[in-house]
Symmetry: C2
């Protein structure tokens, strides 16, 4: 299959043109670090205590209370590689440096304009590799390439200044923008991170991840080369800050966004993305199913500092009027290509829902609960044919390889209740996903594998063991799992329990569940509740796995707690605003911030105060603050 063959064959009605969106300045000179050491924090303005929300944007910006954006420098890049981190500055003068997913939004020196999108951090790296051809056009014709293409290896970063359009002051249609496409340069081998890793080359993205995770870049390369990790980084999403998903790294979390036909607007979804990454989402998935799928995704992609995942069959289904039986490989392929060219970093593909597995779900308590799985089961039934994603899987690999889009092999037959956990349908599909993993790897396409769902605690570890065996150690990406079905309204908790345990046993990324699961579309508050619950689960898993440096964060907070450094406790908290608000609910006076008790026990019954007295009576040293603690130590 040639690249021409993978151009869309359907009109792209709402994508007339597209321009580069590199207008923001993520790293102005004034914010450059003033020391060669990655551990020396750059001089920065005073810490504000509330996020600012400029009138011209619709998203939340500004640092978290007590934190500032700082940079670690790549050791081998003469200071050129600068990896953003969250630095919590303590009252002792020490700092705690934490992994940061929030992107430039928490940097007060960056001018955020969602109509223009983020700066293309990775564009120079992609250009330097010289293995992409780039297409720029004012419009996309039917079944053909866009006009005005540039040659291979040329990346058009010149910005024509045309912002993403707004309609009536709201985020709306994308118009007047040039289309730019990246594709594989045929003579250089696979442009995927897997391709480079297998060829022994460490990309800038891998170096970035190494610094970010506190691991040698060579470890990053080796994990990717072995298929044990992925680094989702579509060449058309240069705005993203590289991250890796794999057992050797910190456990990651994903936040699902996206409107449905019933509710929500594009503007709300962009803010949800910024909001989710502010609280710690490592990736987001745009699961929109209503109108404006393409435009919603464009706004999210151009503004997202984290990899974006999608489920392309949703768009394909919209294209055929919502009727599963009318789906075709061509319609699906075109949706995939549109999304590849837009910059989607990973795609859920339900290629393991084989026709012969569908009857295995008939006696289940809750049938098929994956939307993609149900759509494909309906298609297989209607046509009495094998799932077209399975039969066309090699073609799909060729497409994804051309943009370095990562497969997220979907678990279309995951259980929808604890009653259906680890059943024949689920495990049959898992075996097929293992087979497809090897097919994708032959094409140098990165792969992760999705997992359940609803699983009682005693069956959680078995899920990881089987996935590792059947899927050859490809990274596992699980939804929850929910450990009980009795608590709608609290499924962020029912599933955080399962998520922590499955993460401990080796799951690489946890897809969050919000309190609205099973009940409705999450709003901004639900997104935050889900992200926080999953950051807790992921960190609990990191501690249990013994990730080097993970405990430094806990230790710094415990030290602050024992020393009654209340402000430091708040600032080190996963959610500083809530921690402070809860404390201040009963003891709002400034003096209480240095009190050696809180309202929970009162002054006479504070165990920590008594314990400190015991310690000082016995001549033991007083507790000290940490030195510079780096939760993700530098390589």
């Amino acid at each position: 299959m040639s690249l021409d063959e993978i151009r869309p064959s359907l009109p792209l009605s709402d994508v007339s043109s597209r321009s580069s969106s590199s207008c923001g300045t993520a790293v102005p000179d004034s914010a450059a670090p003033d020391a060669a050491s990655a551990l020396s924090p750059p001089s920065r303005p005073p810490l504000p205590h509330a996020p600012r929300q400029p009138a011209e944007t619709v998203v939340t910006t500004g640092p978290l209370p007590g934190s500032r954006r700082t940079w670690l420098l790549g050791a081998d890049t003469d200071g050129e590689l600068r990896v953003p981190m969250r630095e919590v500055v303590l009252s002792t003068g020490d700092s705690v440096v934490l992994y940061d997913t929030s992107g430039p939004y928490t940097d007060p020196t960056v001018n955020i304009d969602v109509r223009r999108g983020l700066a293309p951090l990775r564009a120079p790296w992609i250009d330097a590799r010289g293995d992409t051809e780039t297409s720029v056009g004012g419009g996309v014709g039917v079944g053909g390439r866009a006009e005005g293409e540039n040659g291979a290896g040329v990346r058009t970063d010149g910005d024509n200044g045309a912002p993403l359009e707004t309609v009536n002051g709201q985020v709306g249609a994308i118009g007047g923008r040039q289309v730019r496409r990246g594709a594989r340069a045929l003579d250089r081998g696979a442009l995927t991170q897997l391709g480079y890793a297998r060829r022994g080359e460490i990309t800038r993205e891998m170096e970035f991840v190494g610094v970010r995770e506190g691991l040698p870049a060579e470890t990053v390369r080796a994990e990717i080369a072995a298929g044990r990790a992925v680094l989702p980084a579509n060449v058309n999403h240069p705005e993203s800050e590289p991250m890796a998903i794999g057992r050797a790294f910190l456990v990651k979390i994903n936040a699902n966004l996206g409107n449905s036909a019933v509710t929500s607007s594009i503007a709300e979804e962009v803010e949800k993305m910024v909001w989710a990454t502010r609280w710690g989402a490592d990736t987001v998935m745009d699961l929109s199913t209503g109108a404006d799928i393409h435009r919603t995704r464009e706004w999210i992609l151009r503004n997202s500092p984290v990899p974006v995942g999608t489920v392309p069959i949703y768009e394909a289904l919209e294209q055929v009027g919502g009727r599963p039986e009318e789906l075709t490989w061509a319609a699906y392929r075109d949706a995939v290509i549109r999304q590849c060219e837009q910059g989607v970093d990973y795609m859920t593909v339900h290629a393991g829902v084989l026709a012969r597995y569908v009857p295995l779900t008939a006696r289940r308590r809750t049938g098929i609960v994956s939307r993609g799985g149900a759509i494909l089961a309906a298609w297989c039934r209607a046509h009495q044919q094998e799932n077209f994603l399975y039969t066309h899987f090699e073609e799909l690999c060729e497409i994804l390889a051309a943009y370095d889009v990562t497969f997220s092999l979907g678990d279309g037959l995951r259980p929808g209740s604890v009653s259906d956990a680890n059943d024949e349908a689920q495990l049959a599909e898992l075996a097929t996903l293992g087979e497809l993993t090897q097919v994708a790897w032959r094409h140098d396409v990165q792969v992760m594998v999705e997992g359940p769902g609803h699983v009682p605690l005693h069956l959680v570890e078995e899920n990881v063991r089987l996935q590792r065996e059947l899927c050859h150690d490809a990274p596992f990406y699980t939804l929850g799992p929910l450990t009980t079905d009795i608590a709608p309204g609290y499924d962020h908790i029912t599933s955080a329990i399962g998520a922590a345990v499955i993460g401990w046993h080796g799951t690489a990324m946890l897809c969050y569940v919000t309190p609205k699961e099973h009940l409705g579309l999450p709003d901004r508050d639900d997104v935050k509740a889900g992200v926080i619950a999953y950051k807790i689960a992921a960190h609990a898993a990191d501690l249990a796995k013994g990730h080097p440096g993970a405990r430094a964060w806990d230790d710094a907070l415990s030290d602050a707690r024992f020393a009654f450094r209340w402000a430091d406790q708040f600032h080190l908290a996963l959610d500083p605003e809530t921690a402070r608000a809860f404390h201040d609910e009963t003891l709002p006076a400034p003096a209480a911030k240095s009190a050696h008790f809180c309202s929970m026990c009162g002054p006479h019954f504070c165990s920590m105060r008594l314990s400190q007295q015991v310690r000082s009576d016995s001549g033991e040293p007083a507790p000290t603050g940490p030195g510079l603690v780096q939760a993700a130590p530098r390589s």
Copy 2:
């Protein structure tokens, strides 16, 4: 030691007299079941959908939406033993019968008056055993017995009609009430449930628990006799509905209540108790430390349908002006006796904090974080003597035996951070608690053992294993454990993760943690958040342990979900009000309650709708509702 010797030696300034409080009528004739079968629900009024809150009470009453209080009958008691359960009546006409901790407050036929307290359900059973002597007096002298005692075996249930006093319309001093005391009848052997169990006798309380748990009463007796379970039931708390804590039973949860010197009132604490049991608390602990300790506890006890636990050293410390070094065994003993006579069902006793263990905490990150542990460590340091609770432990056993108060051997040296988990101090104390367990058992006193605290996931199972080994299989009662320290404001979640896992591995009761942990005193909303998180953890543990019948609840909810019976989903939820509110936030119209989708996915993308179509296309039977599902099946 004679009984005279265990009378208080300090003035009880705020307990001048006390009367029986048996004025409520929990089971009026009109509410009696009309069929001999335990599974036939009695005829009941229509289900209300909002809790009523009569003007004359300060507590929440009325059933949960879609639920009603029903009764299971004891098989061997000619229908005399009636065990209250929560019956969820589905739209299919079927019912799901669930364990219910809410007491008479959810029964609309019971006239609730917190000034008079609940009916003494167990009084006739205690009387019938004839092994208590009862003291009734108008006041308590210093160091002597109260006036007006009755003879052994006589229980004064006559109510003089004097309500608990209110001050300015608020819950206030207890006055004008007679003191009534239960004590061991010396010629009948231990009156404790452990004593009866060891003698091979099945008490009414054990029968009640058997029906409630769906297990044979003989199993209940055998578990108690072996020390593997406790049935906390002070003879002076006849208002409580019997329940058991042990590995063979459903995992239980405790909610901590109680004011501190800084905030909260008695009225608030009584409502928190009712509120906590409404959402599922199996026991409550009154941890009040401010003024009015005794009065607060009296109000809670007289109104509590669940066992009440305390930490007597808090009251003892208040008696000596808040100075740990001035504590004496006599002051402590008197506080214990006052609480025994008031009806406290279990007491946390930090007898394992030995003087030689205190130095082991000196190098810890967070020292001693148990209030009791810190107080006793301070006392040991000040006096350079062994912990008086350890040296007087046998006397304590004699006192607790006389009222059937259960030991909750406190973990005064539990870790306060993941950094300190499973350290030498913690494990040294645990070994001592094992030694004390056997001492208590020699006195026929029931025992459970408290545990951590803060523990990373990979060390959780080891805690249970060590506790079982060192403490001879006595029930384990753990606080959380919190699995990370980085999320103040969300410690109900950090700890629900640990609680689910430790419950799965055999912990019998989980002490809840609220979102306010480490930050302030929980309010009513925090209590609910903590209880719900812990009900989730306990149920997830029950599922993982394979408790017979536990999954019936999940299955009934999953069936309702798959059949789009929205109202049934809400009614079966742990929190029906929140589930409905979340759904109605985006789809409030009544028609949406029968829609085959929700706002999360919209109509075209509802996997369950598609899955049902696949199923009907293939001629598979439609999903059916459950029959009468009993989550705790009858023996």
